[in-house]
């Protein structure tokens, strides 16, 4: 169980020490990580949820790792997208290094990219597996620092500024989270999640702790109105970095927030608080989509779309009253998985288009369809998945949301979800239609060979997110098998 954490960590050190063959090391680590996660999934399906006391120390002294359905699905998500992003990054750096004017700078970028990416992956895997709030703090710091350094890699002044702001936000978020832990530790003297779950009984201290931790995590998840840092940081980074940040990093903090709210402290969550989160989510959906429609640059548009899509995850909060936590997990897991694949595909496609044209101004994108057909396909399919059209994973998520919001007579959430999809269709197709313009004097025969590594990972991820809906029973099965530990805390604790 510690393999998914130790492996990328080691690979990160190795890629830092060796200057050559860094890609091979990273690829091996990512592949092995995928294998390990698959093995963990197999274990979960056969033996059910498991706990692992690292070094044989039991809590409250030792550190506990545990697997359950949601954790494994998130691990699978980061393993699969991580593999695709690793391949894409290879193609991306090779293409940039082949530019004779800036070879040195781009080689340096690649040299820093691999260790940071490996550290980030280790942090993410640790976060999903940890069962201890202080340990989670450590992984959050690891993620935050490596993510901010990755965002600064491109070296342009705009990205320097954006990533500095990103770093500050991350630190602020972690500090608030740490403060929350202090409150909890002062009250109970435990850090293990399972122990906390049994202890929680109201009290102002715990409420304050949960509020602090939530604000910290909301800041990191970029929930409206705390999203201000996200678009510049994501849009100005290198394309593979944008994909990592948008697809995986924000999901990590959301996953924690969700876990805290619905598995650890459900007894002190009140209905107004749930509605408050839902409202913020609704505002995020609408505001992010409207901003996305107004953007003039492709990458900024994709970044604002992330703000909008994250809102869907929070709309799920007020729906807990009808269906309970397990159903809620299936909603957010579908939205998160579909968004991770689709958004990283979108960022990859945007990056390829940027490399090809040298810019990403939306009004000058004409003719791309004939030059980069695979990339345009990937863009289209990923966009359709973001819009939540069937049979994408996003459609299943939205279907579940609509069903529960109508079943609990909270039809306004359904309206927000529908409006969000329509706005998404506007921003996706505003760009899409530019691809189809055939510019004056365009020659169809000119071919510009582009590495398959730049085009195919995006298409495959887009296809995964598109057909996730047809394979919807597998994630549901994993969730259902993995939630047996939850069964005994369920009755009576939901508000």
């Amino acid at each position: 169980m510690i393999i998914p954490i130790v492996l990328p960590l080691t690979a990160g050190l190795l890629t830092f020490l060796f200057t050559r063959r860094t890609f091979v090391i990273a690829l091996a680590a990512v592949l092995a990580n995928l294998l390990a996660v698959c093995f963990l999934t197999y274990q979960l399906l056969v033996f059910g949820p498991m706990h692992c006391h690292v070094g044989g120390w039991k809590p409250p002294l030792g550190i506990t790792l545990r697997t359950d359905g949601p954790a494994l699905l998130m691990l699978l998500m980061s393993a699969v997208t991580g593999l695709a992003i690793t391949l894409y990054a290879r193609g991306y750096f090779c293409y940039r290094i082949s530019d004779p004017r800036r070879t040195g700078r781009h080689q340096r970028q690649q040299r820093y990219f691999w260790p940071l990416w490996m550290l980030l992956l280790a942090g993410l895997n640790g976060l999903f597996l940890s069962n201890d709030i202080f340990n989670i703090y450590v992984t959050l710091e690891l993620i935050g620092i490596s993510a901010a350094s990755l965002a600064a890699l491109s070296g342009k002044p705009a990205s320097q500024l954006a990533s500095f702001r990103y770093l500050m936000v991350n630190l602020l978020g972690s500090l608030t989270y740490l403060l929350g832990i202090v409150f909890i530790y002062r009250s109970y003297g435990v850090l293990d999640l399972d122990l906390l779950r049994n202890l929680t009984a109201g009290g102002p201290g715990i409420r304050a702790a949960l509020a602090l931790m939530s604000v910290g995590l909301m800041l990191k998840t970029a929930l409206f109105p705390l999203h201000f840092w996200l678009p510049p940081a994501h849009a100005n980074a290198l394309a593979p970095v944008s994909a990592i940040l948008s697809a995986l990093v924000v999901k990590g903090s959301f996953y924690l927030l969700f876990r805290f709210w619905f598995e650890i402290f459900p007894s002190i969550i009140s209905t107004p608080a749930l509605n408050f989160m839902g409202t913020l989510g609704a505002l995020a959906i609408l505001w992010g989509a409207i901003q996305s429609i107004r953007q003039q640059r492709l990458k900024l548009m994709v970044a604002y779309s992330t703000v909008s899509q994250l809102g869907y995850l929070f709309i799920a909060f007020p729906l807990v009253r009808v269906d309970g936590t397990e159903h809620l997990w299936s909603i957010v897991i579908f939205m998160a998985l579909a968004h991770a694949c689709a958004k990283s595909a979108l960022f990859m496609a945007a990056g390829t288009i940027f490399l090809h044209l040298g810019h990403d101004r939306i009004k000058d994108l004409s003719g791309v369809r004939s030059r980069l057909p695979v990339t345009v396909f990937a863009y289209g399919i990923a966009g359709v998945s973001l819009m939540g059209l069937p049979p994408s994973g996003g459609f299943i998520g939205k279907w579940l949301m609509l069903t529960s919001s109508l079943a609990s007579s909270q039809w306004w959430w359904a309206l927000v979800v529908m409006t969000g999809s329509l706005l998404a269709s506007i921003y996706v197709f505003r760009v899409m239609s530019r691809f189809f313009v055939i510019p004056e004097g365009f020659s169809f025969n000119k071919k510009d060979p582009i590495s398959p590594l730049l085009e195919w990972p995006a298409l495959i991820l887009a296809l995964i997110s598109m057909f996730l809906g047809l394979a919807a029973s597998w994630p549901l099965y994993i969730l259902a098998t993995g939630s047996t530990t939850l069964a005994w805390i369920m009755p009576g604790v939901l508000p």
């Binding site: 069937p390 579940l400 609509l402 069903t403 359904a414 055939i438 809906g469």
Partner: protein, 498 residues
């Protein structure tokens, strides 16, 4: 999987796989692409004919796949889906031949034919859909696959048309999704069955069900171009002629009309709709659309725009037939018009495309004396136009005859008035075209004469409209025979026990 399930899968794949291969083909592999297209469509027609035979002899075709609890993909071969699938596959073959001739030498053909094949796959999917979720899935995919076809030329005008199409179609899709979820919340998941969902219906509130019915009809009404949801259709005329033909006769508009039939007959069911009393509303919308479309068609000088408004008007005959659902004769008239309108309209669009491609004629005012230059094309056009007006022995007469009989049986005098006025208007906007083309004098050279060969135009452009015009005549003449669209529709109506 049994052979029936293999058959349904093969029917879908027979155009999907060629489509995917065509996307990967380089632009210059003209011959291979044509062969793939033709083989795919001929294979599809034969498979669908096998399915039709099976259905006629009472075999039930079905594929079920559960996605999440309460959401199931269901492909289902019943007589109604067989009708629509047969129509689409036959017209697809003809349109493919036409498109190969039409697009000769133009850029981006791989993309065009790729999306063309996907579009037909999705249309057949709509035909085979066995519940509302599956219908929704293919209905949304239809929007996605037709969009690249509409903006194929890549001009500003076509982009604007495409944008409007998307706004209309996605809004309609969203309303439809909302209605499907709401219906499922009220009565639970339901397949398309001949009875509707009567057992659970009694316990639920009529107002909610009426509201959901209205939302469902709005959702499909966008594609069926019911007034006031028709705004996208005349603009979509900027698409190449084979696309317009496909949009109007087979795919988009027909998918909407087919959706109306499904919702009325299979989702709600005759009995429930009579209880709810929403049918007069549908009838009123259909009548307004019929008259409004005809009046607007009169005002158009652009030939394709006139045909587009004519489509808006004609497709609503189907909705009109459905609004008289307690009268079997009217239902027969409505459903059979699905096929008849497709045959007639595709003929007219092929002919309009021929005029534009061969002589550069886009406007009716340019058509004086064109019949002397292109007699066969204009003869086919005349057959299609007579059908639209409803002159026997064309198929258009059969549809109007049954609709009128149904209206009489229900003693609904307004149906008769709508039919009469509409036929009059159809005459007013089609007969002057014919008079001008056949008896007018040619005024100066043609705008842009492009083809000089043995025939009046390229053979691949000439043959498809002749075939469809021939079918328009023959299917009307032998309507009473064992094998005709009308006979099959009677079979459908018998299956529904009307």
């Amino acid at each position: 999987m049994n052979w029936g399930q293999w058959l349904l899968t093969a029917i879908l794949l027979s155009s999907f796989i060629p489509g995917i291969i065509i996307f990967g083909l380089p632009e210059e592999k003209h011959r291979l692409r044509t062969i793939l297209n033709l083989c795919g469509s001929i294979l599809k027609i034969s498979l669908i004919l096998v399915m039709d035979t099976g259905i006629y002899f009472g075999h039930h075709f079905e594929i079920r796949m559960a996605i999440i609890p309460g959401v199931e993909l269901l492909l289902n071969g019943d007589p109604l889906s067989a009708l629509f699938a047969t129509l689409s596959s036959v017209l697809w073959l003809l349109t493919t031949i036409y498109a190969v001739g039409y697009l000769e030498g133009s850029p981006n053909r791989s993309h065009f034919f790729g999306y063309f094949s996907l579009c037909v796959t999705v249309t057949i999917g709509i035909a085979l859909a066995g519940n509302l979720v599956t219908f929704l899935l293919f209905y949304e995919m239809l929007t996605l696959t037709t969009y690249p076809l509409i903006i194929h030329r890549g001009t500003q005008k076509s982009l604007r048309a495409g944008r409007n199409y998307l706004i209309y179609a996605f809004s309609g899709g969203a309303v439809f999704l909302f209605a499907v979820v709401a219906l499922q919340a009220v009565v639970g998941p339901a397949d398309f069955t001949a009875a509707g969902f009567s057992p659970t219906f009694i316990n639920t509130d009529g107002t909610i069900l009426t509201l959901i019915f209205v939302l469902l009809i709005i959702g499909v009404g966008v594609k069926a171009a019911l007034v006031p949801l028709h705004g996208w259709l005349p603009q979509a005329m900027v698409a190449p002629a084979p696309v317009s033909a496909l949009l109007h006769a087979v795919a988009v508009v027909k998918a909407g009309a087919f959706g109306i039939i499904r919702i009325v007959l299979d989702v709600y069911g005759v009995h429930n709709l009579l209880l709810l009393g929403v049918l007069p509303l549908l009838g009123a919308v259909a009548s307004i659309t019929i008259l409004y479309g005809s009046v607007r068609a009169l005002q158009q000088d652009d030939l394709k725009r006139r045909l587009a408004y004519s489509t808006i008007s004609q497709v609503s005959y189907i909705a009109l037939g459905m609004s008289l659902v307690d009268q079997p004769l009217a239902v027969i008239g409505g459903i059979v018009h699905l096929v008849h309108q497709g045959l007639m309209k595709i003929t007219l669009f092929f002919c309009a495309g021929n005029l534009a491609e061969t002589l550069g004629i886009h406007r009716i005012s340019e058509m004086s004396g064109v019949a002397r230059r292109m007699p066969l094309t204009m003869a086919a056009f005349a057959v299609g136009a007579f059908g639209m007006i409803g002159i026997p022995p064309t198929v258009g007469f059969i549809s109007k005859w049954y609709l009128g009989l149904g209206g009489l049986a229900a003693s609904n005098w307004w149906v008769m008035i709508v039919l009469a006025v509409s036929s009059l208007l159809n005459g007013c906007y089609f007969l002057p075209i014919l008079a001008k083309a056949w008896f007018g004098k040619q005024q100066g050279p043609w705008p842009e004469e492009q083809y000089n060969g043995r025939f009046e135009t390229h053979l691949m452009l000439l043959v498809p409209p002749l075939i469809t015009a021939f079918i328009v005549m023959v299917a009307g003449l032998v309507a009473n025979a064992q094998i005709s669209p009308l006979a099959w529709v009677r079979f459908i109506v018998r299956e529904y026990g009307l």
